[in-house]
């Protein structure tokens, strides 16, 4: 129901966008330069996620023409904490590769969820406008349909931002606009008291109760996009995408 009434429509808009038409059609290559046709991810004993090249590109924000490689990320000795999906293409800054980690996150004592961690997205200045806006929209939709529960990343930077510094890190301010959220603690809110923030427990609470406060006084941390149907993350992302894509169409 959530998919049909919300995701289906925005997906159609995203797929009609020139960025998706040109760069998210599933033309991917492996580390030896041969066509990549499938990525399969075994999730425990019984289930395996079979991703064709189109799904792989969209789930991991990998533009067409990219080289895709996969590496295990080890936490303790030989136990892999996750699987790192790396990609390399001409839109990246020199010597960089993009990276999204697939992992399982504990959700209670005997429960776990499948999740994604955006580890590297280092674009060059010539990367096309909206590559990440369209790419992340497609990523979130693909992740939801494949049963992932959250997307996380470490958003850097802190306010207030300078106006004339070329390398300003704006992640702490930008990613909440896409629906990412995280807890805030009273001590950081108390540094710049505002009565409207008395009940604020998350970044989105802050942005909603006192517009502008987070941009001015917020700071970097690990943030989460909640892929649950109807979540606040989805509401914010859908609103952001509708606004951004409508702006492009006018």
């Amino acid at each position: 129901m959530f998919d049909a009434s919300n995701l289906f429509r925005i997906e159609a808009v995203l797929l009609a966008h020139p960025i998706a038409q040109s760069y998210f059609q599933g033309n991917l290559y492996d580390g030896s330069g041969q066509r990549l046709t499938m990525l399969s991810i075994a999730r425990g004993q019984d289930t395996t996620m079979q991703l064709d090249a189109v799904s792989t590109g969209r789930l991991f924000m990998i533009p067409d023409g990219s080289i895709v490689t996969v590496a295990r990320v080890n936490e303790h000795a030989d136990t892999p904490a996750g699987v790192d999906i790396r990609s390399n293409n001409i839109f990246l800054a020199d010597d960089e590769q993009n990276s999204v980690v697939v992992y399982r996150s504990a959700d209670g004592p005997a429960m776990w969820i499948d999740a994604l961690y955006i580890r590297n997205v280092m674009l060059a200045p010539h990367a096309p406008r909206r590559l990440i806006s369209v790419g992340f929209g497609l990523m979130a939709i693909a992740a939801y349909r494949l049963g992932f529960k959250q997307i996380s990343l470490f958003a850097a930077g802190c306010g207030p931002l300078p106006t004339d510094y070329a390398d300003t890190m704006v992640g702490y301010m930008v990613w909440p606009k896409f629906g990412f959220d995280a807890q805030v603690v009273p001590v950081e809110l108390d540094r710049f008291p505002n009565r409207a923030l008395l009940r604020a427990a998350t970044i989105q609470d802050v942005r909603s109760a006192a517009p502008g406060w987070w941009e001015e006084h917020g700071s970097g941390r690990t943030m989460y996009f909640d892929l649950t149907a109807g979540s606040r993350s989805w509401s914010l992302l859908l609103n952001y995408l509708h606004t951004a894509l409508l702006e492009d169409a006018t």
Binding site: G33, L39, I67, G82, I118, A156
Partner: protein, 82 residues
């Protein structure tokens, strides 16, 4: 073919060529790291068999994200200078 279609076609073609040249350079210079999973007939197979990570430990285990999206910074500058 109208001019706009031709321009789009040209842009896509030049992207494909540039991407192919870039791939050839990367393939020629890369050495797979020891933890890399190698493809078999164009297919990659991996397993999520590790212990689930405790919530909130992502950055500690995987490292803090490195994210630089010039478009976002440009948008911020546009908004602040408006």
């Amino acid at each position: 073919m109208i001019a706009a279609e031709k321009m789009l076609l040209d842009a896509d073609s030049s992207y494909e060529i540039a991407a192919a040249i870039h791939r050839a350079k990367v393939v020629a210079n890369r050495t797979p790291p020891p933890n890399e999973v190698l493809p078999v007939d164009g297919k990659l197979h991996v397993s999520l068999i590790g212990t689930p990570l405790p919530f909130g430990t992502e950055a500690a285990v995987f490292g803090e994200s490195s994210i630089d999206i010039p478009e976002f910074r440009a948008e911020y500058k546009k908004n602040t200078s408006a």
